[in-house]
């Protein structure tokens, strides 16, 4: 496979899952995990599921800037993944919001694809590694604006046509005309429901060892909700397979009394 689409891959995976004898429970949000010989997962709405092993693969969501236009133009110019969506903006003007490592990396990445990148950072200076910042500053088609608060993403009803930011020192509003806005202010792991039971990093990522084992026996984790670097689809697929094999290893080594 060389290329595909999110929907197609999702449908493909879903169909693959349903060819096996898997109990698929859609529209269920996990709210708590209770460790034990039989682990319990409490669901929103009152359901409880029990299992001898659990694999946490709740993913992450893009942190949003929360300004008018962001939601309206999501996937119509507002993007969160430069690796995925960058090529769609070939030859166009875009902005990257966020001057941390991921924002600066995104800007460097995009500068090779698009005609011009405006990088907008809230702080008075960039927060990325010096090497990255130096590389960014060496690029001819990048403008860096610091001390700037994005206040609105504008569009023509169909797609993004610009953004408005406030100069935090003068308070003046400025408009940048562009076709795409990449929001790179981080990912938020969907792990709130594990706080206090499974060991998380200060950023909320699930700590796992090389086998995908978490701090709780029988509980494994995989994909974007974990500490594993580079949030990529292929990596998530591999990590999911690994966690599953580890869970199987755990099960065959567990006392029979735990068997349900």
């Amino acid at each position: 496979m060389r290329e595909t689409e999110g929907h197609k891959l999702a449908t493909g995976l879903e169909q693959h899952v349903t060819t096996y004898d898997v109990d698929v429970m859609n529209m269920q949000r996990a709210e708590a995990l209770i460790p034990g010989e039989l682990i319990e997962v409490k669901l929103a709405g009152g359901g409880i599921l029990k299992a001898r092993s659990v694999i946490v693969a709740t993913g992450a969501r893009w942190r949003e800037i929360n300004v008018p236009g962001e939601r309206e133009y999501r996937n119509r110019g507002v993007a969160y993944c430069p690796h995925c969506d960058g090529p769609l903006f070939k030859g166009k003007r875009v902005a990257v919001i966020g001057g941390g490592n991921s924002g600066v990396e995104a800007a460097i990445d995009l500068a090779g694809l698009v005609s011009h990148v405006t990088l907008i950072e809230f702080d008075a200076q960039l927060r990325a590694d010096a090497v990255l910042e130096a590389r960014l500053r060496s690029l001819p088609n990048v403008t860096i604006i610091t001390g700037a608060q994005t206040t609105e993403v504008t569009g023509d009803g169909e797609r993004v046509n610009g953004l408005i930011y406030k100069d935090r020192q003068s308070g003046a509003l400025h408009t940048v005309e562009l076709a795409g806005v990449f929001v790179q202010i981080g990912l938020v792991p969907n792990t709130d429901w594990l706080k206090g039971t499974v060991k998380l990093t200060p950023r909320g990522e699930v700590e796992v060892d090389a086998r995908g084992q978490t701090s709780v026996p029988g509980v494994f984790a995989a994909g974007d909700c974990t500490v594993v670097p580079y949030k990529q689809i292929v990596i998530a697929v591999g990590e999911g397979a690994k966690a599953s094999l580890s869970a199987f290893d755990h099960l065959i080594r567990s006392p029979i009394s735990a068997a349900a």
């Binding site: 096996y20 529209m27 299992a51």
Partner: protein, 260 residues
């Protein structure tokens, strides 16, 4: 209005209708009304079971038309012309009103049939919106199945005053009995669950009664799907619970590189 090719296709589909369908058209002297009547005449011309009833003095928005079985109140209405991505919605609504059985989970259909309040849904769409038809078709089906449910699709481009008045910023936007109900892509099961007060309780009882799993996966993005597939291949009792099958994949348009 329809070219001969599309007409031939439409004729093929409408041959599956087994019961008579009346189209009640509400028109004025405007250009849009004239176009709508052309479309409806084209539809009437390809099926013996479809009849048009034209009203010029009723209280309905114009131009609009509604579908009904003779002798019943119309419950599925289209305000504006359901062309573009919504043409499929029109064909499906005709088929389902005409007795063609819907393809959906029987449990969900049962939930919809048992809804016992009066529900009037209105969905604002644009004819170029890709996620709109899913929502329109789900609500149309609900209106076909349950006499207490009515649904109107509104083309925002034709009824801009309504768009302004209701402050619709993105489509699909769904209103229930005049109040905002939901925004964006929604599945039939999701809408049904949101309306059915008892469904949450039945669902949680059903989940609590499940035999413990050997492996329970939480999340159905790439990591979760891979984990479930690997576990199921071992022949152990596997479950997967998720808020939405597909996870972040559903928000990703193009996937390149990842699967090279």
């Amino acid at each position: 209005m329809l070219d001969s090719n599309l007409k031939a296709q439409l004729k093929g589909y409408l041959e599956r209708i087994s019961e008579p369908v009346e189209i009640v058209a509400s028109v004025d002297d405007g250009e849009k009304s004239r176009e709508m009547l052309e479309l409806l005449n084209d539809i009437e011309s390809v099926s013996d079971l479809i009849k048009i009833d034209v009203r010029r003095d009723d209280a309905q928005v114009k131009p609009s038309f509604a579908l009904r079985r003779p002798g019943t109140e119309p419950r599925v209405r289209f305000a504006g012309l359901p062309m573009g991505h919504e043409f499929t919605s029109l064909v499906l609504a005709l088929l389902q009103t005409g007795g063609y059985p819907p393809k959906a989970d029987p449990a969900v259909l049962e939930t919809i049939r048992s809804l016992d309040d009066d529900y009037h849904f209105e969905t604002f769409v644009s004819l170029t919106c890709q996620s709109c038809p899913d929502v329109v078709q789900a609500l149309n089906l609900m209106a076909v199945l349950n006499p207490k449910v009515r649904h109107t699709m509104i083309d925002g481009a034709v009824f801009q005053n309504e768009v302004e008045r209701r402050q619709v910023m993105a489509v699909p936007a769904v209103f229930l009995n005049g109040q905002p109900f939901g925004q964006g892509r929604m599945e039939l099961a999701e809408i049904a669950a949101k309306l059915d007060a008892g469904s949450a309780e039945r669902e949680s009882a059903r989940l609590r009664a499940k035999t413990p799993f050997d492996v329970l996966v939480i999340g159905a993005g790439p990591a979760g799907a891979a984990a479930a597939i690997y576990a199921a291949r071992k022949g152990i009792r596997t479950g997967i619970a998720a808020e939405r099958l597909g996870g972040q994949l559903l928000d990703t348009v193009g996937i390149e590189i990842s699967f090279r």
